[in-house]
Symmetry: D2
Subunit: 433 residues, 4 copies
């Protein structure tokens, strides 16, 4: 979480103020459930709520430096502010009841912010895909010209991936929308399953099926790997923008704001720095997923090794992805597309990409596939290496034109036929917006 | 995939024989769909099926060494065996139509095998959890005695995690149960969406929403990270078995087969080598997930950098997890539990774990929490450091006994009360079996 | 870099103030070299230095928000403060000349801080190893009692690993103590190799052998993986402390400061939270190494995807390791060792660990190894399962005592003989301090 | 280790035959050292060597299935073949003495093979760099044209990185050229440091400073991360070849063998599949480094969780890198370079890359840098967007030509001046060959 990459809402979400406010929410929800269960005097939580405690993170830190325990520091501070009623808070609970339930609340809020952003990013992709549904473009495999697609189809592929990202984030949210008010080692020794259900339902969480001292960390690992997956989808788009923008390709480029300077030495350069930035941030998300996976195998009913990891990756990973999504949406919205250049590049190989249509036509005449392959390749290679016209070569090759005739050869060179499904493909993602 | 860690069914699934047979299945399904669409003469696929081709992997390899292209080698070999009808195979398709659809078939079959194994592993955990639902055990946080649980509750926690693993494997299966028969760069230039749907539905797969040259690799990444997650769950159990089995704990241990030798030097040693083995294999699964995540951002409509990765991790990761699940189930089934030792360890701290009950009782008398904490701690520490009896100390401490009275103090030391929800907790996972 | 885990010197090193001051150092060193080469008017750098510019990070940020280029923002600000002389700065240089050379300076300073800390940590381990060079302890493999060692030997193993960490950090420092003043794409178009050498030597850096636009990132990857390796060494110690401290073992424990509370619910608990914290932080270092490895394969003469990664991991990884080393040293210095408990645990198996000595003695009499193994195992197993005395069993077993005689059997049970090399082993690491 | 990616020497190195032969070597070396120390009857090893035992891996496997311990199975088999002398083997040793020392031998042999390959790969890069030392090429940052370099300089950068790889592999070899003959938990209870030194020196290994039951795994982690680093260097070259080969760039391409087919559908395609393959394999090496890093923190004097990891990654990682190096060398040797295309691309921006020379010339006249920047940028942008000639624009711009004059402007457009250091840069790597 460095300011450069931290959207404001995420900075607020992961502030000390929000964290301690969330802790208090959890304690009060638990207190109310205990009141209903008769374990705590009625009205306690209401009186505490009415005080609208202004928790002071600095004071809590100060206490923690002595007691070396953050929850005890927090409770001590609440008692300082609220007086005797506060003694009823945390009754029968263990620190992790508070911490894990609060973490679930913060992570679900982060997840909501990420889901909304992912939807906005996907919607932008859909809009731009629709705009360019029929803008022809050369499709590339291995970086080498393959057969025609449209720019809209290319963006639709990213939109479909972004939409899968929404689903993955929803699943990730469900994984961690789980709290625990079950006391030390999860046995409800001084509580009950009813109190847990009651307290958590008010907070919008489900109770953990079987908790230990904590909510098991396979849930959190699933959450953080989902973030890495979503980030990798953004990285794929960013990588393609970087390709599209390179001088020799020039098919699309990032919006360049007024005043922006490309280089301290070369004033004319327009670099895809936004996309490169997204590429690097995607690597960070993979890096954050790893310790989350190592956190699963905690010892016995819990060890606290996951805690330092989560103090860092919970804010860092959610913030990094939020930043990526904001930037990726802006990238898509502002992407400048050059249809003429797309067309020039498409024409660069003189229709060689129609070779498969020719191959199929020859096979349809009864020629074995391998023989047809040889016929097409020899004309393709002559065109490629001698700079000749592929179609003219085919027409002049008696083995080809003798079998197919001029009209059939010309029909194979029909771009609109090749792209006849482009709009249908783009339409598939329209619902994701 | 080394023989030591390769279950037989997985060896068969990832054999050349199965791979090429699957390729043929895909080509024939596509051929049939094309027949129905009128692109290929009727009866072609039926005649080819009737020939029951005995594909020879060695011959395909031999051809590949010349043409340096595995699919062309395969098709050439099919044509060698089947004659002219084979020319209709692969019509309008690109290699990835065949390869990715086949990979989807192989991975879904692997997923089915993994789901079945995970269910068996979870069921074993449930059985053993039920068996020990009320066997008392000390719960531990930080490796330090906390409060009592039961051995069944501990296993139920693993069972719940294993059950989540089933769901994650199912979701992973759905991610990759997707094929593609859309031709080069996914535009159906010589095919149609109907042919794709038709061909794939016969194979039990859905068509990719928007394919490029290939099925996008975010799906495969999601698959492989799910395997790492499931493996991490097994690792947690394995880690706990390793703790339980250590001499000083001795609460449970791996079954030791007759004839097995623990050490070449120390004949009496009984080492938890199965659990240690599972721990190492879980690390491998994390290692395999990583390149899968890096495979997502392929260039343009595809680059083939994912291929070398998948040739290795598709068999290696699925096989490693299958091996782990088999071994983890055997580990659970054979786990030898020592209830007396569980009880001895529980009693080791002289009931100190009842201190929270005391704390609560004192707070209920109106004492502020922090004061109650000090009262309990001074008696606990005296018991701990001087080896005194905790309960006797409390009874003898006028600040405590004056407030609570003997009966209330004794009530706080009631193990069956502390564990009253154990059976209910274990019952929660019974449905997962 | 969260305050909780950030030593003060590292906070200062990675502050904006230090960063911009370092940038100015690099520009001035380059300027002086250019003066000597006659490219820049003599005295320029001296006049600029004399101004003792008070760079304002906030103002630089403000400019960057317009120009979207940090180096241009910096140079603009310097010109604001210093006037016309500033125009000679950065002459013929590219941003990366400044950024990479500055990064090398910051990372070498971080490396120096890490090397010093690692040496201090290793020295503490050596001191404690010497203190307990002959304190007997049971050695454990698989968590199971094996043969005796001493507590000093155990710590000496960690000391030797820590000493290897010093060497790895030194090698890592050498990897990144390399700058670049070679202009755009590294060709010295407006500079010269002599200027580069001259400027860098004043900064204590070597010139990159062949730079691109930047210093190649294999160097930085090597640096960050070295940090992960050193962290893993600390993690091994932390893991062992966690084992030693568990109730059933109780051989050593972390110092517990006055006022510290182990648990909000269980006042008596003394948890190895420092060691668990170190375990989690070691995971973070692995997570940070990963994106550094992915940063190596930049495109052409550079792409800037490494930049966002390094903005995060350069401070985060170095700070995390520094924090770990400080805490690990404190852990070692404060470690409370319980020799009586070490002895109790050692005696727990009734000398079964001498079984190898018996095995060897039997083999020396000419008995085949496998037969000897059977003889020893049957006595070991009887002792183990029936709680009998191993030595007595052997003396009573005619197959054993008939071959060895009482005296030879008793000799095999000599602890001081088993540990005769302990001091010599500990002495091996004394030089590392 | 799949056949497709396994060089023959690596297949042989990691065969069961070699492994067991290495085990026998270690046992015999240890036996000889023990003979010299008087622990074993003289002549034992010589007699065993004279028998030239034909170890049968299948038989060892068979025994292991009963005893579930590979070393005991091996020793049992040796005794089957060699009779009573074999009983002296492994005296006082623990399995890990044998296994870790053998692993050190196998890994050092693998390291030697990797070092030799890396040297050959680096030498090929140097040769091709020298060949193209002065072949002009546009340098690119962000994929965007920056300033000119030469193709030789680009390759020299890779050669310098490859040479660093040699050093890293040598350091990695030194890390693991360490054995251990110190008995259970490393205390020499039935051996001596002298025997260890004696036995290991005959095998070309150093003794571990302080071993536990095993050689500490930080060494192996250092080894495997070094492989990942070297692989990342190859990946950088592969990534650049992929860029160079794309249609729009076309500056260099992989050799295309006769008979090779680029695509099953598009006969004319020439895809950089070798480079893409190398990219994927580099990802695998990162994946293998990870579990090695997790293997460091073993429990107490050892746990065996590293074993399953090493069974897989020791052969897989070394083989993968060897395969990569062979292929990378072939890639470099066969790389087809197109100097005319390099020149065309260089000329594509009409000399815009000379803008920095202009900028510097303007600054030299006393113009503030930011004003000079504006002057150059306006002429650059006009050239870029209107397709005008940059040089002509500058000559026609009175603000520029008034300050610089025609001759100074023309001098700034001198390619040979810009590249005057290219040969010197290439010469720097000549020594690495």
């Amino acid at each position: 979480m460095i300011p450069r990459y931290t959207p404001k809402d995420m900075a607020a979400l992961w502030s000390d103020t929000t964290r301690f406010a969330t802790w208090l929410d959890v304690e009060l929800a638990a207190c109310e459930a205990m009141e209903r269960a008769g374990l705590v005097p009625e009205g306690t939580a209401a009186r505490l709520r009415a005080k609208q405690l202004a928790l002071d993170p600095a004071r809590i830190d100060e206490i923690e430096r002595t007691v070396k325990h953050d929850v005890i520091a927090f409770l001590t501070h609440v008692e300082e502010l609220a007086g005797p009623d506060a003694r009823w808070l945390h009754r029968g609970m263990t620190s992790s009841d508070l911490l894990d339930t609060s973490l679930a609340l913060l992570l679900t809020r982060a997840a909501d912010a990420l889901i909304a952003r992912q939807a906005a990013y996907a919607a932008s992709l859909v809009t731009r895909a629709q705009e360019h549904a029929t803008t022809p473009m050369i499709g590339r495999s291995h970086g080498i010209h393959a057969e025609p697609i449209t720019f809209g189809v290319a963006l639709a592929g990213h939109a479909a991936e972004a939409a899968r990202g929404i689903e993955r984030l929803r699943a990730a949210r469900a994984e961690i929308a789980v709290g625990k008010i079950a006391g030390a080692v999860g046995t409800y020794a001084h509580l009950s399953p009813e109190i847990e259900r009651d307290a958590l339902s008010g907070l919008g969480l489900l109770p953990e099926t079987v908790s230990t001292q904590i909510v098991p960390r396979d849930r959190h690992a699933a959450f953080f790997v989902a973030l890495a997956l979503v980030g990798a989808g953004v990285e794929r788009l960013a990588t393609n923008v970087r390709h599209w923008q390179r001088n020799e390709v020039g098919e699309a480029e990032e919006a360049f704001t007024a005043g922006q300077k490309g280089s301290s030495a070369m004033p004319h350069k327009r670099n895809p720095i936004l996309s490169e930035n997204l590429t690097g941030l995607a690597r960070m998300l993979r890096g954050y997923a790893l310790p989350a996976l190592e956190d699963v195998a905690l010892w016995h009913e819990r060890d606290i090794s996951h805690s330092s990891v989560e103090r860092m990756i919970a804010p860092d990973a959610t913030t990094t992805l939020a930043c990526m999504q904001d930037r990726a949406k802006a990238l898509v919205d502002g992407l400048v597309v050059y249809p003429e250049r797309l067309r020039q590049n498409l024409d660069r190989t003189g229709g060689l990409f129609f070779s498969e249509a020719l191959l199929l036509a020859l096979v349809e005449t009864g020629l074995p596939r391998q023989e047809a392959y040889v016929l097409v390749q020899r004309n393709a290679m002559k065109a490629l290496t001698l700079g000749q016209d592929f179609r003219a070569n085919l027409l002049a090759d008696p083995d080809v034109s003798g079998r197919l005739g001029r009209e059939r050869i010309e029909r194979a060179f029909d771009l609109s036929h090749a792209l006849r499904y482009a709009s249908e493909i783009v339409a598939r993602v329209s619902g994701s917006a």
